[in-house]
Structure formats: structure tokens, C-alpha cells
């Protein structure tokens, strides 16, 4: 067999099964007629093929089929159980997911954004920032930060760096978070009195006062009055972020509570409403098979909200959907009608 025969090996094997094209078969036969090595190869391959094809197929064990059937029955029963469970709990599960989406949006979106927003500081915080730098009243400083430490323990670099900034660099524009840092990081300076006079000597007293930017009147009022905790059934929907900030108790700023500092902004609530409204509309389209938007709107908004689960209704005006949510539903339905996603 020479190099030229190499390409005929596959053709010879294939010819044994009659799978060659007419052209390939002609070429193969022509080569075999002149090449003794390839004729021997053809005979060997045919012999191997005959041996293999004459070998009987192993018989399956007696119990194999029954074992497979038993597996199938168990698997089908398991799938049925899952489907039954899902059909029974689909609506509550959907409602729970929707409620979770709203609650998560209400809790975490403000946290994601509040650093970037310029938020006013309460007079209490402002006072703390000033009194920390007051060497004549160290005992006042020693009390408030201790309360803060329960809620927030600053890391060592934060403790060390902030006073240096107040000595040498202009204070950055005040934010809610920076104001909080001012309150919390002052404790170490109280324990090291030598550093306090240095700050006071080099910095005019007006500088710390600028750090604690005066609050808008309504915020000052909210913090100084120390309103009672917001009832659980209070609506989360809000028209503006400022309003929500005013409603949130100021306990967080003094370290008594780890609750979020502010509620969601109107944009955040709009996003959350859109998500929930889309889920509700999809749910009703799938569940009721009603696709006319006007009918759907009636079905959705007239339905008892309890269908969507206790979590959702607790946070939506004691069991009824808010006006803005209904409006969002209306908008989503309009998008559905127009074929928008």
C-alpha cells in the first residue's frame, strides 16, 4: 500500500456499506482493480465487519425495563406534584414577588442614591458637630458619640483622616453622610484632648458650622420635634423625595436605629410601580385570558387587593391600591395595547 492508497481507506470502508456515491464507487473499484494491498485491506475490513455484525446484541437484564418504568412513574408523580403546587400557589407567589420588589426598591434604592443627593442635616447633628470642637464642653461630646457607636463603628482610617481634613483642607460640600461622619468620628478626639485645642486654634469656629449646613425649615422641624415612629400601614408612595425625608424619623442620624434615612424618590417609586404593574398585568392576561385593556383595567383595579397577598396590601394604603399605582396600571395597559414591551 502506497501513499496514494491512503485516501482510499475510507472509501473502501464506506463501499462495504454501499454508502458511496456512483462517482466514488467507480473510483474505488478502479483503484481496487490495480492495487493488491487495497484489495487485502478491503477483505480484512469486510471480515471485521462480518464479525461485528454477527455478534448478537446483549440481552438486557430481566429487571431493567421494570426499573425504568418505576423510575418513570416516580418522576412523573414528582413533576405532577410540582405543577399542582405551582398552580395552587402561583398567584400568592406572584404577589409576594411583587411585594418584595416594591419593598426592596423602597429600602435599597434610596441607600444607593442618598450619598449623591445633597441632603440637609438636622440641627441636632449640626450642634453635635460644633460642640465636638468646643474644648469647654468635652463632656457633651463624650455622650452623643457613644450612642452612635452602637449603630456605627468607624474604621481606624476614618477616625484618623477626618480631623486632618478639618485642619488643612476646605470642608467638602455637606451631605447627609458626611454630616453623620462628623458626628461619629469625634469621639477619639475627646479621649485625646491635646488635639482638640489645635483644631480650635487653627480653624475659625465658623468652619465647623459650615460643615453642618443648615437644614431647611421643614427638616429642622421634623428632627427637633422627634415625631413618633411611622405606622406600618403608612403609604410608601410619595410625591417627592423631600417629603419622604421629612417623614422619616431622625433617629437614624443619632444612631438609635439602623433604618434607612429616607424613602424612595418619586422616580424610584415610579420604577417600582412599573415593575409591579407589569407583573400584575401579565398575571391577569395569563390568568383571565382577557386581553382587552379596558376590561383588564376594570378587572385589576376593581379586584380586592388582598388577592395579591398581605405583604402588598399592608404597604399600599391599608389594602387599596394608591392612585398613582392605578395610574401606572393604566399606563402599562396602554403600552400593552400599543404592543410596547
Amino acid at each position: 500500500m502506497n501513499e496514494k492508497c491512503g485516501r482510499f481507506e475510507t472509501l473502501i470502508s464506506t463501499s462495504l456499506d454501499g454508502e458511496l456515491s456512483p462517482e466514488e464507487a467507480d473510483a474505488c473499484h478502479a483503484h481496487l482493480s490495480v492495487c493488491a494491498d487495497c484489495r487485502r485491506l478491503s477483505e480484512r475490513l469486510e471480515g471485521a465487519r462480518q464479525v461485528l455484525r454477527s455478534t448478537p446484541e446483549p440481552e438486557a437484564p430481566v429487571g431493567l425495563l421494570e426499573a425504568i418504568r418505576a423510575d418513570a412513574e416516580r418522576e412523573m408523580e414528582r413533576e405532577d406534584a410540582v405543577l399542582t403546587l405551582w398552580s395552587r400557589w402561583r398567584a400568592p407567589a406572584l404577589a409576594a414577588v411583587a411585594a418584595a420588589a416594591v419593598l426592596l426598591a423602597a429600602v435599597y434604592l434610596p441607600r444607593m442614591h442618598h450619598v449623591d443627593e445633597v441632603a440637609p442635616v438636622s440641627p441636632a447633628t449640626e450642634e453635635s458637630a460644633i460642640t465636638v470642637a468646643d474644648p469647654d464642653r468635652p463632656e457633651e461630646v463624650a455622650v452623643a458619640p457613644e450612642e452612635d457607636e452602637e449603630a456605627y463603628v468607624p474604621s481606624e482610617p476614618e477616625i484618623a483622616s477626618v480631623p486632618e481634613e478639618t485642619e488643612t483642607a476646605p470642608t467638602p460640600p455637606p451631605t447627609e453622610s458626611s454630616a453623620r461622619e462628623d458626628v461619629r468620628v469625634e469621639a477619639p478626639h475627646v479621649s485625646v484632648p491635646a488635639s482638640v485645642p489645635e483644631v480650635v486654634d487653627e480653624e475659625p469656629t465658623a468652619e465647623p458650622a459650615e460643615v453642618a449646613d443648615p437644614s431647611p425649615p421643614e427638616l429642622a422641624h421634623a428632627s427637633s420635634e422627634a415625631p413618633a415612629a411611622r405606622p406600618k400601614t403608612e403609604p410608601v408612595l410619595a410625591d417627592s423625595s423631600e417629603m419622604m425625608i421629612a417623614e422619616v424619623p431622625r433617629t437614624t442620624l443619632t444612631g438609635e436605629d439602623a433604618a434607612p434615612l429616607s424613602g424612595p424618590s418619586s422616580l424610584e417609586m415610579e420604577i417600582a410601580n412599573s415593575v409591579v404593574a407589569r407583573m400584575v398585568v401579565d398575571h391577569y392576561i395569563n390568568e383571565t385570558m382577557v386581553e382587552a385593556p379596558s376590561t383588564l383595567l376594570a378587572v385589576i383595579t376593581d379586584s380586592p387587593p388582598s388577592e395579591f397577598g398581605p405583604l402588598l396590601t399592608e404597604d399600599f394604603e391599608n389594602g387599596s391600591f394608591g392612585a398613582s399605582f392605578t395610574e401606572t396600571i393604566r399606563r402599562v395597559l396602554s403600552e400593552t395595547e400599543n404592543g410596547l414591551p
Binding site: T14, G47, E57, P58, P61, L64, E75
Partner: protein, 240 residues
């Protein structure tokens, strides 16, 4: 065959044992649809049709040891994936099921190889001789009648030689020469081009032919334990 009767769209009873291949595929389609709808009995019918073939593929690819367990596992995988299966174009249930079987066998061979690499030399490690590499067949502990019945010397030799091929060559020779699939169906099962299948099959047949000649010449023997080994090693074993 169970007493469960399945009917086609025209209300005619489905004959599971139809000789006509297209009719059999049509029967498969109805059974698959019923199984996809949650009928365990329909899947049982499919299993009855194909469990022997699947078991044969597993035996040829991986040996008869634990072949029943692996076959059972293959059908369970097929059942779990059945909802995604669709008859379209040239897709047939048999091709799809065989593909699952071959892939499961190749994975099993890889698993065994990894295990062997970790644990070191084992009884089923290939034997290197001057005439090439010959695989051993691990003694089959199963004393079930079906295993004993098929233990003819020729069958043992065929199995031992197939076991010495690479997994891809094993798969090609198993599907075409043992399961007797046509080239197109075998290529679809192995998810490879037709030309690749032809060349793999040619190589596999050549290697099998070489070793078969060694077996016929007495250079490879199958001992009482079902091991394929060289004659020299067998003699050394007897002397010990």
C-alpha cells in the same frame, strides 16, 4: 408490551411492533407526545422498544459491568429532557435517545479514566505489548443468566477488542456495525459530519481487524475471567 392502547390522530390503534420504520417513527411520535403530556405508561412503551438497544450500546461502549445501572440512568435523563424534545425535520426519538446514551457512555469512560488516574494502575488498564496495546476486561462479577449466556469466547474477544479502541471509534463501530444504524443517523447521533463518521469508522474497523487477526492467530486470548490478554501473559500467569 403492556395492555395500554395508544391511538393516532385518526383514532387508529398504534402498533408498537410495526416493521415499517416510518410507521415506527410515527408511533414514537405519538408515544413521545403522550409522555410529554405526563403519561408514564407511554414512556414505558418507549423504554420497552429501546431498552435492549440502549443496553447494547452501553455494553459495547463501557462493558457489561454496571451496564444496567447506566442504562437506567440514561432513560431517566431522557425522561427529564423529554419536554424539550421536538419532532422537527429529520429528528427522530431513536437518534435523540442514542445520542443521550453515547454521551452518557463517553462521560462514564472519562469518569473511569479520571478515577484510574487518581487511584493508579488497575485491572482494566491496557496492556502494552510488542504488538500494540490490548485492553483487559475486568472480570464481571455479575452471575446473572443473561451475562453468563452471552459469554461465548468470540463475544468476549469482540468486546475486549472494542474496549481497546478510543471512545469515538467505539461509538462509530457500535452504532454502525453493532446497532446497524445507517451513516446519516449515526452521524446525527454523534453530532459529527458524515465525512468524519466515515473516516472514524474506517479507522475503527482497521484497528479492530488488526486485533482480530491477532486473536485468530492466538496472540490474544480470553481467559476464564473474561479478560483479553496476550498469550505470553497468559502463559506467565499459568506458570505462576
Amino acid at each position: 408490551m403492556s395492555g395500554q392502547a395508544f391511538v393516532d390522530s385518526e383514532g387508529l390503534p398504534v402498533s408498537a411492533g410495526s416493521a415499517d420504520e416510518r410507521g415506527a417513527e410515527r408511533d414514537d411520535e405519538l408515544l413521545v407526545e403522550a409522555a410529554q403530556g405526563g403519561s408514564a405508561e407511554a414512556f414505558g412503551e418507549l423504554a420497552e422498544r429501546y431498552h435492549t438497544s440502549v443496553y447494547g450500546i452501553v455494553c459495547r461502549m463501557c462493558g457489561s459491568e454496571q451496564a444496567d445501572d447506566l442504562s437506567q440512568e440514561i432513560f431517566l435523563r431522557a425522561l427529564r429532557a423529554l419536554r424539550q424534545f421536538q419532532f422537527h425535520g429529520d429528528a427522530s426519538f431513536r437518534t435523540w435517545l442514542y445520542r443521550i446514551a453515547v454521551n452518557a457512555c463517553i462521560n462514564e469512560l472519562r469518569r473511569r479514566k479520571r478515577l484510574a488516574d487518581i487511584e493508579g494502575p488497575s485491572l482494566d488498564e491496557d496492556i502494552r505489548t510488542d504488538d500494540g496495546t490490548v485492553s483487559r476486561v475486568v472480570p464481571d462479577e455479575t452471575q446473572a443468566p443473561h451475562v453468563l449466556a452471552e459469554r461465548s469466547e468470540v463475544q468476549e474477544a469482540v468486546q475486549a477488542i472494542i474496549g481497546s479502541l478510543t471512545p469515538k471509534h467505539r461509538a462509530a463501530i457500535t452504532l454502525v456495525d453493532l446497532q446497524q444504524l445507517d451513516y446519516e443517523e449515526a452521524a446525527k447521533t454523534l453530532e459529527c459530519p458524515l465525512g468524519t463518521l466515515k473516516s472514524r469508522l474506517a479507522r475503527a474497523r482497521q484497528q479492530f481487524a488488526e486485533k482480530w487477526e491477532q486473536y485468530e492467530a492466538g496472540k490474544i486470548v480470553v481467559n476464564a475471567d473474561g479478560e483479553a490478554t496476550t498469550a505470553l501473559e497468559e502463559e506467565a500467569g499459568e506458570q505462576r
